[in-house]
């Protein structure tokens, strides 16, 4: 028997939570912090995972000399092990007004919670940001790690509300002002902005963050059903745009939408990142366990 009171979070049910807890993030690069963690990051670490050999240099710790090789070759070689370091997982939820359409924000919060839980259970430092107002600080959950942090994370995300007016590019720049640490930056937004995303993407990349972009679009944005002469009103800026014979423009609209997806994908991939566009109408499990797993974003 499943009731609302017995659920751990309102974002998804306990079963989904259980599945999520067994999943791990799979970054392309191992961008980690110097502080110790459970992420293997390059050679020279002190983990039990062997990585490579190298010539002995003066001052090297003699404990790492491979004596068997020395006996055979009469030359000292140092054994190197994988470095286990802590990885930052930064989740940015676009809480602008445009995300209020058709469960886009809900899906973004659910995905943010899922990614956050995966990070926390993998002993990563997880910080969460929600862009809201242009002025002032973003809503943020400072970096933290450990299972105990899960409740805080879910509580924070449950309280995130839409209706903000910060465009995604501004939100990224604002987030970077508060964030320190290398790792993965997960951007959950519709990426419908008039601004240029190249600069924030470069900033993310230069900050040592692997960019994971997930575009969440509503069904009405993917397949708009409009016709006739219309006056479109921007939900954020209230600006208007008069469209004549909108039905004749749908083909061009689809071209533009696909072009935007392709641009974002290129933008992320060129910065060692990933990109995925999802329909907000798709279920969370479908997105998590099907699309993301299949594309290798997460490991089950």
């Amino acid at each position: 028997m499943t009731t609302a009171a017995s659920q751990f979070t309102t974002l998804f049910d306990n079963h989904t939570l259980n599945v999520i807890e067994r999943m791990r993030l799979r970054p392309i690069r191992r961008l980690t912090n110097r502080s110790r963690g459970e992420h293997l990051s390059g050679k020279g670490g002190s983990s039990t995972d062997f990585a490579d050999y190298r010539d002995y240099a003066a001052g090297d710790d003699l404990r790492y000399v491979d004596w068997n090789i020395f006996a055979r070759l009469r030359r000292p070689y140092i054994k190197q092990f994988q470095h286990e370091e802590e990885m930052h997982v930064v989740v940015l939820v676009d809480a602008s007004t445009s995300m209020l359409f058709e469960d886009k924000l809900l899906r973004a919060r659910q995905l943010a919670a899922a990614f956050g839980i995966m990070g926390l259970l993998n002993v990563e430092r997880v910080s969460t940001y929600a862009s809201h107002s242009r002025q002032g600080q973003p809503w943020m959950l400072p970096p933290g790690s450990g299972r105990t942090r899960i409740r805080q994370l879910l509580g924070f995300l449950e309280q995130v509300e839409g209706g903000g007016d910060t465009p995604i590019e501004k939100a990224i720049e604002t987030m970077l002002r508060f964030h320190r640490g290398r790792g993965v930056a997960i951007l959950l937004s519709d990426f419908l902005t008039f601004g240029d995303l190249s600069r924030p993407m470069n900033l993310l990349f230069s900050a040592g963050l692997e960019v994971w972009g997930i575009q969440i679009l509503a069904e009405s944005e993917i397949n708009p059903n409009v016709q006739g002469d219309l006056r479109f009103v921007d939900s954020e800026s209230q600006e208007t745009l008069d469209i004549t014979n909108a039905s004749e423009l749908l083909n061009v609209y689809q071209d533009q939408r696909l072009w935007l997806q392709q641009t974002l994908d290129t933008m992320c991939r060129s910065r060692q990142g990933r990109f995925l566009s999802v329909n907000s109408a798709s279920s969370l499990t479908s997105i998590l366990f099907d699309q993301l797993c299949r594309q290798g974003w997460i490991l089950r």
Binding site: T97, S98, M99, L100, F101, K104, D190, L192, T193, F194, A218, E221, V226, Q227, G228, D229, L230, R231, F232, V233, D234, S235, E236, S237, E239, T240, L241, D242, I243, T244, N245, L249, V252, Y253, D255, Q256, R257, W259, L260
Partner: protein
Amino acid sequence: MKWPGFVNLFGAWFFLALIPLIVLYFLKLKRPRLEVPSLALWQSVVNDQRVNSPFQKFRRNLLLLLQMILLCLLILALMQPFLAAGADVAEYMPLLIDCSASMSAKAESSGQTRLDVVKEQVRKQIENLTGDQRIALFSFAATGRRLTEFTNDRRVLLKALDQIQPTHLPGQLDDVLRLAAAYTRTFPIQSVTILTDGNLPDQVDFELPFSLEVNRVDAGGPNVGITEMSARRSGPQDWEVFLRVSGSGDDLRGAELQFFENGTQTSAQSVEVAKDEPERLVFPITATQQTLIEARLVPAGFDSMELDNTVWLSLPTPRPLKVWTSPKLSSWRHALRVQPNLDLEESTDAVPSGSDYDLLITDSGDTGGAIAPVQVFVGVVPSDLQDLIEVRTDVAAVVDWNRTSPFLRHVQLSEVQIGEQPYLAQGASVKELEERGYEVLIDGNTGPLLLQRREGLQVSFWFTFHTDRSTLPYRVGFPILAANAVEAALKQASLSEVSAAPTGVLPALTVLPERDYVIRSPEGSEVTVKSGPTGVLTGIAAPRVGRYDVLDGGELTTSIGTGLLNSTETSLSSTSELRFTELTVATNESETLDSDRPLWWILALLAFLVMLFEWWYFSRARGAVA
């Protein structure tokens, strides 16, 4: 490039109507509002569509654009644009329309007369009349006539134009040009347009105060007609009637000439004529009484003009010439006795016993109340010249004489000795004689020896010396002089030669004095004319070809007929240039009457098409525009 002008330039104020149109359009246009998450994609779509479709910008507000175009077209049509025919748009345009006889010539193919073609051109000009333009219509044949004042009232102009009919008169430009010139004093007339067939005398005695444009219509079809008809007496009761039949075409065309005497056909003859090959015919006639002869031409094929096919000629009652001479003028009597067909009254009375004579020759100023068309006074100074001429007994000599005068034809006067010498009074000159109506026929060394005076139909010759006191009666020229006097009297009495009367004015008719006569025209209209004290009816207008009857109290007195009798009109030829006093104006057949071309109907049509397009476009894409 010619820019169109506008009749109603004030109509441009209506362009201000565009402002409320635009305002109302945007006020009225209510598009359904649809809130979308972001305009980013749609803005890209619109931008992309604009790039790919340059007219997308216009398409967005296509309805407004079409409405503005529609309104602009309607306003432009309201402004009545026109393409000016010439560089200068003449404000006052006198149009001189030729309605001479040749303008009634019909084209063989269309059956349209030249005047119809001209009227069509003028009608178009009137219909295309722009706001500040004024037209005055003049018609002309032998004389000019103003049909309308300068006006832009199309109704008045078209009504006047419809009333123009071809006359039966030859064309003359002088009169109508003077009429038009009179208007240059009150109106700024730059140019005068003549619409004619070019069948005009090429010499015009007129100094042009304006520029002249001659628009010539095409030539009509082939034509044959009678151009001359006259009769000469060949015996006491015999006449020879001469006829000339001419044609206008290059090819010979046949016709039958029928001859009628007092309405009865007496003979007929076939003729074949061409442009330069007229045919002259002679019909002998025996007339014992006054006879009205009608010559009627029946063309074998198409004949362009009918009114030159009939001509009338009145032959007088044959009688001898009635002459009276003074008993003392034995030399004159002697010379007259040998003349044939002469009834010479040789009485011994100093004054004539009768009242009507054909020729009076007297040596006295008193004729006793008798009148004659030709009078010869011998040795008499006219009473009204007594103060200017004094006759003395002296030897006079002939200095010069008018050799072209019919009275002195073939008369040699040199070396004639004269025993009486007329002197002009001191200070007097020939000019004063002329002012009093006398023409000097023989000049003496000190004064006039022979004077001539014309009064109505009468002509009188005044020898200021007595012929018996000169060597003239002994000269060969004297019987010739007497014969010339008889000849003049015969002509005056129409006893030797008669010519058919052309249209215009009827020849003077001798009737009873001071009596009302009714003249019945060929169309049946009647006009009453009173004869003068000398019993002459003159100045009777005869504008139509046909028979005119003179009625006295309901009874037919005499009949006289008229014909066109103009070889120029019959030839239908066109002169290529008109020579004026100082310049020459070319008549150009290809030149048509230029008129301003109105464009309002094109704009109105375009507006209608725009409206149809608007209806079709927005019906086709329903919902495309609110």
